[in-house]
Amino acid sequence: MTDPRSWTIPNVPDIPTGRFRRVRGRPLLRTSYAQDMALLDTPAERLGTAVLVALALALPVVLADRSLEVLSGAYALAIGAIGLNIVTGYAGQVSLGHAFFVAVGAYTAAALSAPPGGRTLGFGLAEIWIWLPAAGLAAAAAGVLVAPLATRLRGLYLAVVTLGLVFLGEHVFKEWKALTGGPGVGREAAVPRLLGYPLDRDGPLGTREQVLYLLMLALLVLFAVAARNLARSRVGRAFAAIRDRDIAAAVIGVPLTRYKVLAFGVSSFYAGCAGGLLSTVSGYVEPGSFSLLMSVQFIAMVLIGGVATVSGSIAGALFICLLQPLTRTLPALVPLVSADTTRTPNVFQVETVLYGLLIVLFLVFEPRGLAGLWIRVRAYWKSWPFSY
């Protein structure tokens, strides 16, 4: 018998089964669990993703270097947002300390790649395949150290504790001048070098911005696919169970401690990598930037993008990052808004107000974020010509 639930009788040969073929034009007729769990399970989805990736690959040819730099930064932030979504969205553990893990990654990467004997600490390991995983692992180690707190605390208490982490980190980074260069001064960021070839200057492959853009895009795709894979696996299901109700999850046999530690570890790994890449794009690291504001920005990305969705994290990061250049064009369009910081209202104030307004509006009208909007639109057409 093929049925594992029934007893087996040894001298009955197993029935020859098929080769788990997909049947044309019938996406719901799944003949194996692999098809059931496929990331892109309909032709429309495969086509849509292919078009999106092709579009992203075409952008460096079309856009100016300045816009590419903004997008590269957005992609790096998106990796961090995916990380926060893993711990907060998928596993349901509120974390305000994301900026701390980003800082750990950024400084690990910077210290490893900088030439030794300079003003700040340096080890001269400029190869990206060394410092990027190292940045992630250092942050993950920090995350794993913090995680035991999460197994004892829930909700608000956890939020406050992780908040403390940000302040602790801010203080340490401001004081440890040998590593960070000190507040207001900062230090050189990590230098990306791939097999001896520097990726952060103009070369035969294109300008610095074009090369960096493609690097960030490739890494974002890699991290995004890895996160989707994690979410659909046994680990992902355990995260979801813990998010929905940790006591219930424990009752059905999900080891809480192990999975909470894992969630913090993976999330911090993403944050660390994002930190390393983010500083590469801007070129320098300043300890004051890893403040509570950065944590809030990540939370805004997750909330505006969509909780517990990878595509939502990316959308949220892009949305927040592209808001900035958009508001910068306001003074030209609206006479009331000034580009001068000494006048009121100026663009920076408008920007801050917009952040707050958007978070409030999304939480009130579409708590599932941009991804929720998309799901709503998709459901409307998917259920056509009925409503359910």
Partner: protein, 618 residues
């Protein structure tokens, strides 16, 4: 080719030799799929034949002789087909039992057929058999497929698990490798291969003996000759098997189509999941009884009514267009004109594609309704939304071969034209339809006098249906001969036409028209609880039970509207003057319906005599 091979080796072609041939020529191709733990598991032709052969060996080991009966009491699943093929391979006779049959019926069928072995699906079916074992002296073994609840609890020595049966077969195959082939070689076209019990709307069910020759004629006509579908079914076609396999129609579409054409059979999980399974499988050939089509129509109605205003308006518009398309198609026999093609293309983009997808009709290239009369309006609706719908006519006694509406030559309200090779005539005196062809059954099991009553010595089968030829080609069936009502005014009325017109409404599930030797016609009406419930909910009408819902004055008004609309199309003598609601849903177990959900008219009228008499003011 199969047939040529068979003649070369001197073996009669049966469905078993056809499956064996496929296992040789295309061992890795998919023969069937069944859903297990959320995934459609594929079974290849090699796997199918392997299992069928094992069952055949096991039956030999259990001492089954040619002509012995093997009963199968199960929902549709691969084991049903293994058992059927295994039985036919050892020249036994398969007897199918309806999964809904209550114990009393099981006792009757097992005793009447004299089955030696029963293959029961699970504890529920095994319990029914064990309850009535003492009334079935011929029954030696009860094989259960699902061990849950039986294994380790029941001690009856006649019980045997499915793996034990296979192990027995494997042992026998190792000892006597050629035994099944040897037994198969002895088969002849005159061998009875299955007993199909009539539904028994009047009197106890009778076992219709179908021989190898009958079934081969049916297969040649339907599959090789493309009697229903054109182009004929092939390996690329997908079928959904969900109606009881003991019925001749589903057996033809599942077992015979599969074996003869290689069409892939997909087994629905159960009758309750048919909607969901249809959506997954999206079959290319779909056979349904009228109830299924009526229910789909009602579902579309409910879903549309509860949609958002925009969707409701758009769908409403395109359904009105579909209605007009249906009118045109009904006029042209199912062939599109350039204008309808254009209108349909626009509607396909806006509505029909999605609508058909939702109900699993997206890829249907041939849909059929049969086994009971259906209102033409229902068929017209499906033609309008682009499902090529055809009404068929046949019965167990003629191996389901009589007439069919051919693609492109559809005439609504008729059951189509006789198949090639089928002789059909109408008895001048009674108007009864008679058929004659090589598929005519060998007789009722153990009832020569009943056989003689329907089978003329010169081979004509009396179908018991009254009908007439329209334009000399298409057959129109009026009603069952026994059901025709003669009112006190002397008018002949066919109740099924009125009943089907009523049942075409989404709110009416059952309608029984009464009026034999009465001054006027009355009807017992059963409401469709889903649709009427939804309707009441939208109107804010509170109700508790089925009975309560039927007795609301608002419900009476609603159904009165349906009755009035039907009456408006009928002659005075055929109008339903009064109606009463059935206080309960009719049920197979209470003896009001047959296993195929046909109303046992006499039983219902007798049971609700007071209601009927009440309508005549007595």
């Amino acid at each position: 080719m199969t047939a040529a091979d068979a003649t070369a080796t001197g073996t009669t072609t049966t469905i078993v030799t056809r499956v064996r041939e496929r296992a040789r020529s295309a061992p890795g191709a998919v023969a069937m799929r069944h859903k297990d733990l959320g995934v459609w598991r594929e079974i290849t032709w090699a796997g199918y034949w392997d299992r069928a052969e094992l069952v055949a060996h096991a039956l030999l080991a259990l001492g089954v002789e040619p002509g012995d009966r093997v009963a199968v009491h199960s929902e549709n699943r691969p084991e049903w087909l293994y058992a059927d093929l295994g039985t036919v391979a050892v020249r036994g006779v398969t007897v199918g039992l309806y999964p809904t049959d209550p114990a009393a019926e099981v006792a009757y069928l097992l005793a009447d057929s004299g089955a030696r072995i029963l293959i029961a699906e699970d504890q529920e079916q095994a319990d029914k058999a064990l309850e009535v074992l003492d009334r079935c002296p011929d029954l030696r073994h009860v094989v259960y497929v699902e061990p849950r609840g039986i294994r380790g609890r029941y001690a009856d020595p006649r019980l045997m698990g499915w793996p034990e049966l296979l192990a027995l077969g494997a042992g026998h195959r190792a000892e006597h490798p050629g035994a099944v082939a040897q037994r198969m070689a002895g088969a002849g076209p005159g061998d009875v291969m299955t007993l199909i019990y009539t539904s028994g709307t009047t009197g106890p069910p009778k076992g219709v003996m179908l021989t190898v020759g009958n079934v081969e004629f049916a297969v040649e006509t339907l599959v090789t000759g493309g009697g229903f579908t054109w182009p004929p079914p092939s390996e690329r076609d997908l079928l959904l098997s969900y109606l009881p396999l003991c019925h001749v129609a589903e057996r033809a579409f599942t077992v015979w189509f599969n074996a003869a054409s290689g069409a892939q059979v997909n087994f629905a999980e159960s009758i309750d999941t048919v909607q969901a399974n249809l959506r997954e499988v999206q079959p290319t050939i779909l056979f349904g009884v009228p109830r299924i089509w009526e229910k789909t129509l009602a579902q579309i109605d409910i879903r549309r009514a509860s949609a958002t205003p925009v969707k409701r308006a758009v769908t409403g518009f395109w359904l009105r267009v579909a209605d007009r398309l249906g009118d045109t198609l009904a006029r042209t026999g199912g062939r599109h004109t350039p204008a309808t093609r254009l209108a349909y293309a626009a509607g396909w983009v806006c509505c029909y594609r999605a609508l058909r997808e939702r109900f699993g009709l997206r890829h249907v290239r041939y849909a059929a309704s049969g086994a009971a009369p259906v209102a033409p309006a229902v068929l017209k609706f499906f033609m309008g939304i682009g499902v090529p719908m055809h009404e068929l006519y046949g019965m167990s006694e003629n191996t389901a071969i009589a007439t069919a509406n051919r693609p492109g030559r559809v005439r609504l309200g008729t059951v189509g034209e006789p198949h090639p090779g089928v002789e059909l005539r109408i008895d001048e005196a009674t108007g009864e339809i008679l058929t004659r062809h090589p598929g005519t059954f060998a007789g009722y099991w153990g009832r020569p006098e009943a056989t003689a009553a329907v089978l003329d010595p010169d081979g004509w089968l009396r179908t018991g249906d009254v009908g007439e030829l329209v334009d000399g080609t298409h057959l129109r069936i009026t009603d069952r001969l026994k059901d025709v009502i003669i009112t006190a005014g002397g008018k002949n009325v066919a109740p099924s036409e009125i009943e089907n017109a009523l049942k075409a409404s989404p709110y009416v599930k059952e309608a029984v028209v009464v009026g034999d030797r009465r001054p006027y016609l009355v009807a017992l009406v059963g409401i469709e609880p889903d649709t009427v419930g939804e309707w009441a909910r939208r109107r804010g009408i509170p109700y508790t039970t089925y009975r309560d819902l039927s007795q609301r004055p608002e419900t009476r008004e609603l159904v009165q509207g349906v009755v009035d609309a039907v009456n408006a199309r009928l002659a005075r003598a055929e109008q339903v003057k009064r109606f009463a609601f059935l206080p309960k849903e009719l049920d197979h177990e209470d003896g009001e319906l047959t296993a195929t959900q046909k109303v046992r008219r006499a039983a219902v009228v007798k049971l609700f005599e007071d209601l009927v008499e009440g309508m005549y003011g007595r």
